[in-house]
């Protein structure tokens, strides 16, 4: 799972015989034993959580539980990856991700069901709209230098309003069953949409770790001036990141609509906290103190495991927010402290 694997050979080439005796290299392998707990602590907690639930609630240890965990979170996977696009380049507060997702998710069934469009054409239109919103964000933030919070907060409220308008504040259902199979097709016990999420995360992780584009994105996030003076097209990369965030949100929305078969415009706004929670929780996994796709992916399913297990114990409404909030604060605090110690 270590994103650095393709380059781990560097150590042996460049510093023969020193790797074992050096102070801990922060990000790359070989990681000294002392660092494993911090990198993989959430995984250990995750395992402990599963063990605990299994012992206290025997029904937890059933294949349907795992299906419930792994087939219900694709929308979060797509939204968190969209958010990571802009976080990686140093824009920490793109609040519009869930709203763009909801916008695309509303347009598609409205066009198809209410206006009789071809379902593929409707999907394409929805994705294009989401991408266009990303481009508008990019234009305002990168070219006009408007504050990111203001632009994305305003955009998110605006899009929610438009979504409610075009859907008449109703849940729009009736997406053709043939189209739904692009998301619901069973592959090895899980819907195919789960694998779309896995593929997206892996591609994103690969881009960040192994391509010049990813390297440039990381540097833009670390320091715009250093990047500019090193020949990186800083504004182009920032612009592109916002556009891609829109594109990923749009595609995620279409897959979610296909999976569920319907969409309610007002449902999107509730995703804001979980999306940020998972992305920040990801900084405690694999690469301490750094936003990373694989950590985020694990974070999503870790949170879902915890919530589901608690709900088996008791169905109270308060469980989910309490768990989300507590885990987020505790995990990110630990990751911040550890990161400070390493650097």
């Amino acid at each position: 799972m270590d994103t650095a694997r393709p380059e781990s050979g560097d150590v042996a080439v460049a510093a023969p015989g020193t790797a074992g005796t050096q102070a801990p290299a922060k990000r790359r392998r070989p990681a000294p034993l002392t660092q494993i707990p911090s990198r993989y602590s959430i995984i250990v907690v995750w395992a402990a959580l599963i063990l605990f639930y299994s012992l206290t609630e025997p029904s937890f240890l059933h294949v349907t539980t795992f299906q419930a965990i792994f087939n219900s979170q694709e929308h979060l996977v797509f939204m968190t990856m969209a958010l990571l696009c802009t976080i990686t380049i140093g824009e920490f507060v793109d609040l519009s991700v869930p709203a763009v997702f909801g916008f695309a998710g509303t347009i598609m069934p409205v066009l198809v069901v209410n206006h009789g469009w071809n379902v593929w054409l409707g999907s394409l239109a929805a994705i294009l709209c989401a991408t266009a919103v990303g481009a508008v964000n990019a234009f305002l933030i990168v070219k006009m230098h408007v504050n990111t919070i203001v632009v994305t907060l305003g955009m998110s409220t605006l899009l929610l309003g438009i979504s409610l308008l075009i859907s008449n504040d109703n849940t729009v259902s009736g997406v053709p069953a043939s189209f739904q199979s692009i998301a619901t097709k069973d592959v090895g016990g899980l819907p195919i949409s789960f694998y779309y999420g896995v593929a997206l995360v892996l591609v994103f992780a690969y881009i960040l770790a192994c391509t010049p584009l990813g390297r440039h994105m990381r540097f833009v996030g670390a320091s715009r001036e250093v990047s500019r003076l090193s020949g990186v097209r800083v504004d182009r990369i920032r612009f592109g990141s916002f556009v891609f965030a829109g594109l990923i949100s749009g595609v995620g929305a279409i897959i979610t609509v296909a999976f569920v078969g319907s969409f309610n415009a007002s449902s999107a706004s509730q995703y804001l906290l979980p999306v940020f929670a998972a992305v920040f929780l990801g900084t405690a996994i694999f690469e301490p103190g750094r936003f990373n796709p694989l950590g985020t992916f694990v974070g999503i399913y870790f949170l879902e495991t915890g919530v589901l297990g608690l709900q088996l114990h008791s169905a109270a409404v308060w469980i989910e927010p309490v768990f989300y909030g507590a885990v987020l604060v505790v995990a990110v605090t630990i990751s911040t402290v550890l990161h400070r110690r390493v650097t």
């Binding site: 050979g9 510093a15 010049p212 390297r215 990381r218 320091s223 250093v226 500019r228």
Partner: protein
């Protein structure tokens, strides 16, 4: 101006006494046994190169940093608890005026002066504006400054802004007490504002307060202060030198030291072939500058603050906007104009710019040595879908070996390295691209002696490889051992051109003295004469 000082010295305690204060960050000792005395009513100067520890000392005095155990800071005979508690320091009369004066432009004069001191009414918790304004007006009157307390600070002139900052610093002073530290406060002021500002400072001193003035403007230090303390590499080199016994050149020598004679000049490797040609460069105060750098030639650019030397280096390196001019390298011509989205054009043409502020412009501290070192080439040398590990490992290993980067770990994050090793990574980042023109800005600033020798050797090696080199630096010792030719700037013009064997003293001399004394350059007599005439005319 030394009357108050002379009268106060000897009787009674010092206004400020710093004894044996040290500061260690991790493994780096940035201050070692600092000791200095400031008498009541004294205007004391503190000078030293960037990175010598001046600002660390100020941060200890104001309680931002905790000093290592063992030192003592005493104000008027009373020892302060360490770390310094800001409120205690304020009660003792210690105040700092920072570089940007620390004013909120959007607020009025009285709000700025009383910030963090507002007195609220007991029940309503309302600020009594009338009383506050009266207090501020009284302080301003004591300073002899004619500023309306209702004015918005953003609309004031530079000297009035300074007056507001000074008023804020001295409002708590008892009569005949207090110490104001001016940390580069005059940097953004015009010459005329400075004159007014010093009158103001003198007024403060006549009231019995002491002043510690930190400045890069040696001229003003010599002119206005009574005594001066010089720091270098975390040590106090000399303290309490009367400024009537020393001039700017003498101070510069103390600031730079002799670097223990680790470096000697070597023979020039300049060839007749041109490496880079600059024509008609306009940047900042510099007008229509022509500059030729030959392959293998090392050219120094130096001068006092705002002389134009830095602007030229940054414009040619692609870091700063220029208002016009061309740069020709290998037959390719770049137009020097406003700042661009990326230095890609410069890099493609073969320019490498080693920036001064290494963690702001040069390197990303959170990324690894390899990632930083290979960044400018990662797109060109890597595939579209692959950065490729082998060339990066090779390049990094070569630079670690060549520059002796320690520890030799290519995956260490740059932020955890010492200053000298960061500078080596930065230099390696650009040398690995085998540039045609290497532009360096203060390449040895705040690095230790060993790193300095490695860096100088690496620059020479680049020159031997046929690269043209431009070094912008105020470090005359570096320029003297490195350069085949040194251009001395003043007010945007080249006022002297030194060639051949030169010493540190020659360069310092040319920097401070009128241009007529500088050695004539035998190779460009016409150009040199013209420049000299300009210099004298000013």
């Amino acid at each position: 101006m030394s009357v108050a000082q002379a009268g106060a010295q000897g009787n009674g305690p010092d206004r400020l006494e710093v004894a044996d204060v040290s500061k260690t960050f991790g493994s780096a000792r940035v201050l070692r046994g600092i000791g200095m005395h400031i008498a009541p009513g004294e205007l004391h100067g503190l000078v030293g190169q960037n990175g010598c520890g001046k600002s660390t000392l100020v941060k200890i005095l104001t309680g931002v940093y905790t000093p290592d155990p063992g030192g003592a800071i005493t104000v008027d005979g009373r020892e302060l608890s360490l770390p310094v508690r800001p409120l205690e320091a304020r009660a003792a009369g210690l105040a700092v005026v920072h570089q940007n004066l620390g004013l909120v432009d959007d607020r009025t004069v009285w709000e700025n002066v009383r910030l963090a001191r507002y007195q609220a009414a007991r029940f309503t918790r309302r600020i009594d504006g009338k009383a506050e304004r009266a207090a501020v007006a009284a302080v301003l009157a004591r300073l002899g400054a004619n500023v309306d307390v209702h004015e918005r600070v953003g609309e004031l002139s530079a000297e009035d802004r300074a007056a507001v900052a000074v008023a804020r610093a001295m409002q708590d002073h008892q009569d005949g007490g207090g110490l104001i530290i001016f940390d580069e406060s005059t940097r953004a002021m015009s010459k005329r504002s400075r004159g007014r500002f010093f009158e103001l400072v003198r007024g403060v001193i006549d009231g019995g307060a002491s002043v510690l003035m930190i400045s890069h403007q040696l001229e003003e230090i010599v002119e206005v202060t009574d005594r001066v303390t010089v720091m270098r590499d975390g040590l106090v080199v000399e303290t309490g030198i009367a400024t009537k016994d020393i001039d700017e050149a003498g101070l510069t020598r103390l600031m730079l030291g002799r670097h223990l004679g680790t470096q000697n000049r070597v023979d020039s490797v300049a060839t007749p072939a041109p490496a880079a040609t600059v024509r008609g460069l306009n940047a900042r105060s510099v007008r229509d500058l022509d500059l030729d750098v030959r392959k293998g030639e090392i050219v120094g650019l130096t001068g006092l603050v705002a002389s134009g030397a830095v602007a030229v280096a940054e414009a040619i390196g692609g870091a700063r906007s220029a208002q016009g001019g061309t740069l020709t390298i290998n037959g390719k011509t770049l137009h020097l104009r406003k700042r661009r989205d990326s230095s890609g054009d410069f890099i493609a043409a073969g320019v490498a710019f080693v920036a001064e502020r290494r963690l702001e412009q040069g390197l990303a501290g959170e990324m690894t040595v390899t990632e930083n070192l290979t960044l400018p080439r990662v797109k060109k040398r890597g595939g579209r879908f692959r950065t490729g590990g082998a060339w990066q490992a090779q390049e990094t290993a070569a630079m670690i070996k060549k520059l002796d980067i320690k520890p030799p770990d290519p995956h260490k994050t740059v932020g955890t390295l010492s200053g000298g090793n960061q500078q080596k990574v930065l230099l390696g980042k650009w040398l690995a691209g085998e540039p045609e023109l290497l532009v360096l800005h203060e390449p040895t600033q705040a690095v230790d002696v060993g790193a300095r020798a490695d860096i100088i050797e690496a620059i020479r090696e680049a020159a031997r490889g046929g690269c043209g080199v431009l070094v912008s630096s105020v470090d005359a010792a570096d320029l003297a051992v490195l350069c085949d030719r040194v251009l001395v700037f003043r007010q945007g013009k080249v006022v002297a051109e030194l060639t051949g064997d030169m010493t540190q003293d020659d360069i310092i001399h040319a920097t401070f003295e009128p241009a007529g004394d500088a050695e004539a350059d035998a190779e460009h007599p016409a150009e040199d004469t013209e420049l000299n005439v300009k210099g004298v005319a000013r």
